[in-house]
Amino acid sequence: MARLEDIPQPTRDAVANLPCPSFDTHPFVAGPPLAQRRVAIVTSAALIRRGDQPFAFGSGEARFIPADIPAAEQLISHVSINFDRSGFQRDRNVVFPIDRLRELAADGVIGSVADTHYTVMGSTDPAAMIESVGQIAGQLQQERVDAVLLTPV
């Protein structure tokens, strides 16, 4: 089992009681069949390219990830020490499933994989990310993406 009750304290209470934003509206968008969709990943794992500055704690910035970035060039710079990294050490797809998306595209399950993907720092007030969200949305539209997969850590 790996459910909320299995998360060690005090992280369990912190995630269970985390203040979450609520919204007055619930936009809901349909789209073409999955086999025609262009898919991008947005992850809150604070992934960086080797040699780049790690994300700063509380930073609302977003970074763009080229789809062809080699696995050996990706590091995880999330500030929290309360989640597992051993899985990412073995296989980046457990956080950033770029190889799985490529396979799904090759098999015709999805239409294609976007050229650009995105990462932000989790454990950050979403209000700090408003400008970044606009940057991400602009690039998604430019690349004609019509499906976004969010992968938190």
Binding site: A2, P8, H26, P33, R37, Q74, G87
Partner: protein, 228 residues
């Protein structure tokens, strides 16, 4: 923009009400569930992306039915052999003992790099052979500067991250994948490096440097692994 979120904390998805969310009963840090298990990852992805074709919104929350196969401990997993090292009492002792342990683990780390085709070590901008002297400087109360990092506190934080990554990779170099609990238990209870990080936390929290206090208290040692 049609979005689907994978979430490991169902109560957070219930609060935020995303248009489409797949709750997964996986541990934090593994939204796709299981490293190196292509079939399992594809099942998770297929269920998540499949929600994009549903139109019965405005909020669709679904549950992935299975726990990941790697949640249980792996019987017979054997971590790399460590030298027997007493807990040092001064910076020079920490430097020498840490260097000895790192040297003993270098072959396993090299095996891990070959096995996984990469390493996730690199946040500190410092090579492993220079870690013992750097850690000893911090243990002695110095605030050494490292090019690329704006403060000594950040340097130490990312050094700690790199040490944990090095050991995590070395610990998984051979055999079947251990559970994350096995890796953590080995690092925090069996290695000198685990004791070093606890000592650095103690040093940082006693520092006059407020940034050092903050990072030391929050970002070196997870609470479940604090002594006592």
């Amino acid at each position: 923009m049609p979005c689907v979120a994978i979430g490991a904390v169902r109560v957070q998805m219930e609060k935020t009400q995303p248009p489409r969310g797949l709750f997964v009963p996986f541990q934090l840090g593994r939204p796709l569930g299981e490293p190196e298990d292509v079939a399992f990852q594809r099942r998770v992805l297929s269920q998540a992306l499949g929600l994009l074709e549903r139109t019965d919104g405005p909020v669709i929350l679904a549950d992935f039915p299975d726990d990941p196969p790697g949640w249980s401990d792996t019987p017979g997993w054997e971590p790399p052999v460590l030298p027997t090292l007493a807990t040092p009492t001064d910076p020079t002792g920490w430097r020498d003992a840490f260097a000895t342990e790192l040297a003993a683990l270098r072959p396993a780390w090299a095996q891990a790099r070959a096995r996984f085709g990469r390493s996730t070590v690199g946040l500190s901008f410092v090579s492993p052979e220079d870690w013992p002297a750097l850690a000893a400087a911090f243990a002695g109360g110095e605030l050494p500067a490292v090019a690329g990092h704006t403060t000594a506190a950040l340097t130490l934080r990312f050094l700690c991250d790199d040490i944990k990554a090095f050991y995590g990779e070395a610990g998984q170099a051979v055999g079947s994948a251990p559970s994350s609990r096995q890796v953590d238990g080995w690092f925090w209870r069996a290695t000198l490096a685990g004791r070093l990080l606890v000592a650095l936390r103690t040093m940082a929290m006693a520092s006059d440097n407020n940034a050092m206090k903050t990072v030391g208290g929050r970002f070196f040692v997870p609470v479940p692994w604090l002594p006592g």
